[in-house]
Symmetry: C2
Subunit: 122 residues, 2 copies
């Protein structure tokens, strides 16, 4: 019985460098970590969410402020804030009718910075 490998390989060509594959295979992280990583970056992969995060990095803001700042509907912002909240990137603080959103931690800024380094904007 194999452990966690599907028996049928769907690659349509011969393996050229079996030694390379054998060396890299054990270095691959478990599927779950890679999935979580992709899910996180997926959240960053939208202009609206990037703009929200950038704005919140400057200041705590309520939904209405963000919508006005970004010139978008309150509904659209609210939907995206939910995505950001689920990814634990932002946090909501309720004060009466108003909900003030802010960044959950400082990782956001650091991830931004690494991205900016790559696109030569830093």
């Amino acid at each position: 019985m194999r452990e966690n490998q599907t028996p049928v390989e769907s690659c349509s060509c011969d393996v050229i460098h079996q030694n390379v594959v054998d060396r890299v295979k054990p270095l691959m992280p478990k599927e779950e970590a890679l999935y979580d990583l992709a899910e996180l970056f997926k959240v960053f992969g939208d202009t609206t969410r990037i703009r929200i995060l950038w704005a919140l990095d400057a200041s705590e803001m309520c939904v209405c402020d963000i919508a006005f700042l970004l010139n978008m509907t309150q509904s659209a912002i609210s939907h995206q804030l939910r995505v950001l909240k689920q990814a634990q990137l932002v946090r909501g603080r309720k004060d009466g009718k108003i909900v003030f959103y802010s960044l959950e931690d400082e990782h956001v800024r650091q991830i931004f910075d690494q991205g900016l380094v790559h696109i030569h904007e830093m």
Copy 2:
């Protein structure tokens, strides 16, 4: 004449904190930078591409090796490699019939690490 602001605001609610908006607005980067940033993270936002990048971080590999390692078709890998190449994350080195791919630079690893820090995998 306004500069770069659309005249009609699509926010459906009143602005609560005009001072906050006025303070944050000039801190927002230009639209292009935010777009590029989102595009970059979008590339990272897919499990297949993450796996390819991780594999290439371990070793230079040809298309066929990657396909075999990840148990996917050569075509799927080839399509994704094109996306990664366009984002300047990987580079191809042709040697006869075989094309060896490797990471373009070390930014990939750093972006990965920041992501892993956030999801508490590091």
